[in-house]
Symmetry: D2
Subunit: 332 residues, 4 copies
């Protein structure tokens, strides 16, 4: 359950109460909150008289629940806001992997020419084979940082495992937790302690319940800026790489208070249908869209089949803009 | 492979040649065609000199393939056309099951008031338990026929198994082959011999390849009016009833020439997200949308949780109309 | 719920009571039973005083439930018994498709040489493409009937759809309802009216609940000889054709009273691991094993990759015999 | 490809060659090997004349492939061997989580009384909710170490994420990489550098190809003692917790050279069928079985439903012993 403490309870008293009740303690929008397991259904011993408001839940989806907070959280990426009542759909572009300065400069130029603000690019690639390209690592992070400085872009990149979480946190504006790292408590707990938005991708074998619970690791640890990202689940269908779960998105929109970004590139795994799928995603009224684009996909070192050319990316933006408008959203 | 016979080959000669080559024979848009297994890669013995054009395929998706015919087939439901270059998205409404004359009259009135043309309603329900409501059967078919006469509506209803295929064919304007009957050759072969459109639903455990091959049963048997319907596949996620596979829809749009209708009601299984999902579907530029609505869902004899109220159906139409427009389509 | 009627209630009275209560009526082991939906939780109006015993269920798994009958049903195939306290594991062999008299004679000879009793072979093949071999149809059924006469073998073959259910019923000793036909009420209802065992295969996209409910169609219609067959479900894994669900088998053994046959050939889809998988199946203490074997798999017209050679089939029998013995069962 | 270097090439020269060829370098059974991506199909520049033997592969399953090494690797856990030609099936028991010294003493006593050698128990639990019991951590590791000293048991425990991999490596005899951590390169790379066996569990959404490729991370990094563990995959079936993939096991046994341990407890998720499933597993001729047992499952802090009582564990050992014998194996 969630307990909003009375304003008479100071922060350090709240902390002491949390320890006694074996609860999490966060400060959220100026108030102190304790969070226990959802199996607790009434005010714990010792908290009587110190609580302003209480929420009881049927399962461990608590801080992320619309029952706790009805409106979607507002998250700020640099100067751009999403969620809340902004009605913004952030179009995030860039290559699968940062491969060279020339490449990432071209990607940055593309975004600037379209008045877009946020650049994606992987540096530590969570490849499934040791014999594949593993990313540029720290060198890639520094290239991204350079793009931020030179072009004023926000940078989003992925943490692969807990051994480089500090580096990624340092160099990025939004920390991406990838589909394969989503259960990684080393990462989740580190991301709970930072003051930057976290883009949490759903694992391809992960239930919606587990997905939201992973967000609860971050939220209950003290970071209230979590963005959910659906990127396709693994099903029996193999003509497409994964299956984008828009029923799941409808569920998350209805029951959680977290902004939602969709990644159709990884879901389909092929260039051909990304435009139409992006139209579909945008028509749901979502907070962001993550699209892989590469100056020359034919030489890309990872995910070559699914990255758009820059021409296709420009056309995609043209196509989704009126769709967003038709549901009251703006592509930013 | 597909062989378009020379115009000098008459219909009955074509038929004889087909038998010799163990091929299917159809007349399509005024020409004679033979279709063999896709494992045949060159002109079969005895057909040399009698062929105008040939298509070789990597697998048994042949007549449905865009390599055979580049544009989407035009299908006519009553006075309404879909596919081709019509840019129409037909909104089909009605209850899960026909339950009574009063109910189906209300459904018909709803459609008429919205200038919609096509009424859905199940009469032979393919329930998974013998102890559930099994539908009104022939009595239901007669009620649908009455709606057609009284209101000028087109009627679409489902055939459950081969024992009532003739009845359903007789009473409906579009024959629906449901998800559980999709491999049923008794039904597929019967539907291949009729001059009515067939709405073929994808089985929830069916690959895209198998789905299109089921359409090939109908197409190679002589009926060229097949509409594909995606209605959700079964995955590990159980918060939603099924998972609507829009990656699969992108695949079908890219590689097949068949019109596509989506059924978000069965996919999600709950009322709450049908509106948003419908927006997503329509934004892909599809040929139709199948929505369950009931005058009073709380007393529905099947699928109570997912049927919209009439008010919600009216609002859904309002919401999807600008989305359709934003991608160049019209809701009809 | 299930209601066992008092011995004072005659069969025709039972029938009348069933109609009034909208219940199914069966005669089972000399007594009259009514079966309603599981949503009924107390004696229906008009039956008070006429009931000997009642069973209430949480869902529509009723007649198949061990709560209704604790011991596994005994089913007789010709002179061979399975289930009950027989501790028999029937090894059923034969080709995927009946292809010619010579082929099926060789299959029969193989079984006879191993003292086996039951021959399988498909005549109406539920292929997913119209361009594949569809089976010999009635001609195949007659060949199977000939094998029964000449060699005294029991014959098991598949019904594809409701259009040939009567033929298959007439010519076979056990009627097999295939994975793709499992929801077909035309078939299920026809099989409910016969006095022969029915082998019901689980659909590859079918939940255990739906699977057992399909059996309830047959049981509640009056045929108490239903055998369940697990043959692999469709999952994300594609190195193997399907995934044999032995957790599901453990569930069925624990909660249902129906004999269980396993089909590792269709599950794996390749010859190489059939022997080891068969050992695993047999070690669970099952009632039968269905194995595809062909005199020359390299020329088989269907499922060539998974059919064993006759040498491999002989070796398989040698290998599973001690495994069966180790769990107290006998291969027959 | 794999290249076995000539005996004239010393270790440090091999290392230099590897760097030039961007290949992995390992010493295996006294010889030097280089391993490149499987996309390399012929001797790389600069290695001509220095290679004794080469293996080319269709995909990145290389060191784990039976084409590289035909016989299963022998792995030693303490004094007990598995794999190779040992025909041993190691029965590993213990609780899901180490909860207290009293509990783990009872577990140890159980194993000793059955002449078993290897104790399992989780200390860092990869729970999906932050609000669940997360394990005793280091304190648990110390309890396990105490069991090793007092009872001479081998200890196997799980590393949750890269932040505690060093601790787990230090305290355990076999390092377990759990299903949720299987893609974690921080862990995989750390485990590649140690001289202890690694038990690698298949992710529940992981393909067989990815699973073996995760093992390649460890093997190509220099640790040749990898054991694969199948523990159930996530499918549409929810009556059971997961679906144990024995078809996948048949594939791994046929195509890889790694020993295989099965974990039916996590697959089924319930006590009732563990015994029968264990019989099935053992009948495949496997190298080990991982079974959760708890002195009092009703008070277990995790996985309460699936842990056996000690009485059930004793009976399980009795039941699987003759099954193992029937396929030529011994339970140790």
């Amino acid at each position: 359950m969630i307990l909003k403490l009375a304003t008479t309870v100071a922060k350090n008293e709240a902390s002491a109460l949390a320890e006694k009740a074996k609860a999490f303690h966060i400060t959220y929008q100026g108030s102190e909150y304790l969070i226990t397991s959802s199996s607790v259904k009434s005010t714990p011993e010792g908290l009587q008289g110190k609580v302003d408001k209480e929420w009881v839940f049927p399962n461990d989806m608590q801080l992320a629940s619309r029952e706790f907070q009805e409106e979607t959280r507002t998250v700020r990426i640099g100067a751009t806001e999403m969620g809340g009542n902004t009605k913004n759909t952030i179009l995030i572009g860039g290559p699968c992997s940062v491969e060279s300065e020339e490449q990432i400069q071209q990607s940055s130029a593309l975004l600037k020419s379209l008045n877009l603000t946020t650049l994606r690019g992987g540096c530590f690639k969570p490849r499934t084979s040791p014999y594949s390209f593993q990313g540029l690592g720290l060198e890639g992070l520094k290239l991204l940082a350079k793009m931020r400085e030179e072009h004023g872009l926000n940078v989003i990149t992925e943490v692969r495992d807990a051994t480089q979480v500090e580096q990624v946190i340092e160099y990025s504006d939004v920390v991406q937790i990838g589909a394969k790292a989503m259960y990684d408590q080393g990462i989740l707990r580190a991301c709970a302690k930072i003051n930057k938005p976290v883009l949490l991708k759903r694992g391809f074998g992960t239930t919606l319940q587990e997905f939201v619970q992973a967000a609860e690791f971050i939220l209950s640890g003290g970071n209230d800026q979590v963005i959910l990202c659906e990127r396709g689940i693994r099903t029996f269908e193999t003509k497409t790489r994964f299956t984008l779960d828009l029923c799941g998105v409808a569920y998350l929109q209805e029951f959680t208070n977290l902004p939602i970004i969709l990644d159709p590139s990884h879901a389909l795994g092929f260039r051909y249908g990304i435009e139409r799928l992006s139209q579909a995603c945008v028509a749901m009224g979502i907070d962001g869209l993550l699209i892989e684009a590469h100056p020359d996909p034919s030489v890309a070192k990872s995910d070559a089949a699914q990255q758009l050319t820059h021409e296709q990316f420009i056309q995609l933006k043209e196509k989704i803009t009126p769709v967003a408008k038709s549901v009251g959203y703006t592509i930013v």
